[in-house]
Amino acid sequence: MIIQHRYRMRAGNPMPAINDLFFYQTFMAEKVRVDIYEAKRDVDLLVTDNFRGRGGEFISANYTRLPYKDTSGNIMFSGNEEHIPEYIDEDDVPGA
């Protein structure tokens, strides 16, 4: 599994000010952990109870069936799973 992080600034639209200047107001940032699976067993895929609406810690997941099985005969999937966003300070976004 590879762990990746995705960031999203929480902000409104840029507002024009004076002398060709614009204000861009931000309200913290979202940091989303994404787990990327090269191959995951069918029995290990997330189920409904793993998602936020049912008290779980994930917001989305998608999988693609692979034309492979593991040595135990399990059907394998590649895919990624997104965790619930964590709110961080704008200055903690890499490159900000």
Binding site: M1, E38, A39, P67, Y68, K69, D70, T71, I75, M76
Partner: protein, 204 residues
């Protein structure tokens, strides 16, 4: 599993006039970065070389297929390989035939479904057996979708179908898909055809 040797004349291939037959295959096995071993189907090819006439020495059939000049014929058939995750199998889907060519005379049992579209002079010269060796000027014709009505396996490249041969030697259910064909006629001696098939062995 021990090997088993026998004489080639006893090799049961369900067809007459086979000169040689060989099989190459390997399973698609991968290792993920997490150390999981992934096992996929085995893909392979089977190559056959055969005489395009009855092997019976008393046969009166023309062994040169009606040509007088050295002649070569080639054809390819394109297949798309697709995985069906519903039934966990790979399928070969034919594309619309393939290109074909004839260099030399047109043999009796060979024709193009479409074409020939171009015809131009070609040649073959070699002095490897001495400078007195003859060389040949021939004609090359390019067409599409070869039709071969000869032996041992007739086919129409524009209407490709899987072929069931070697059923006693291959795992059950395997179908062979012709991907290339060639015919070489060398007057005054003989002629031979070559077939190359592709196949997939899906995991049970």
């Amino acid at each position: 599993m021990p090997c088993d040797c026998n004489i080639a004349g006893m090799f049961d291939i369900e067809l007459d006039g086979i000169i040689s037959a060989s099989m190459n295959s390997s399973a698609d096995i991968r290792l993920t970065s997490d150390g999981v071993i992934l096992l996929g189907p085995a893909f392979g090819t089977i190559n056959l070389v055969a005489y395009p006439y009855p092997p019976n020495p008393s046969s009166n059939e023309d062994r040169l297929l009606g040509v007088e000049c050295p002649t070569r014929v080639g054809a390819s058939i394109n297949w798309v390989r697709r995985y069906d995750c519903d039934d966990d199998k790979y399928y070969f889907i034919p594309q619309t035939g393939g290109s074909a060519w004839v260099e030399g005379d047109m043999p009796n049992n060979v024709s193009f479904e479409l074409g020939p579209f171009s015809e131009y002079k070609s040649f073959s010269a070699s002095a490897s057996s001495g400078p007195a060796t003859v060389y040949l000027d021939t004609y090359h014709r390019d067409g599409f979708n070869l039709i071969y009505t000869g032996r041992p396996i007739a086919f129409q490249a524009g209407r490709p179908e899987p072929i069931n041969i070697l059923s006693s030697r291959l795992p059950s259910g395997i179908e062979l898909y012709l991907q290339s064909f060639s015919l070489e006629i060398t007057p005054p001696f003989s002629s031979q055809v070559s077939y190359s098939f592709v196949f997939v062995y899906n995991l049970p």
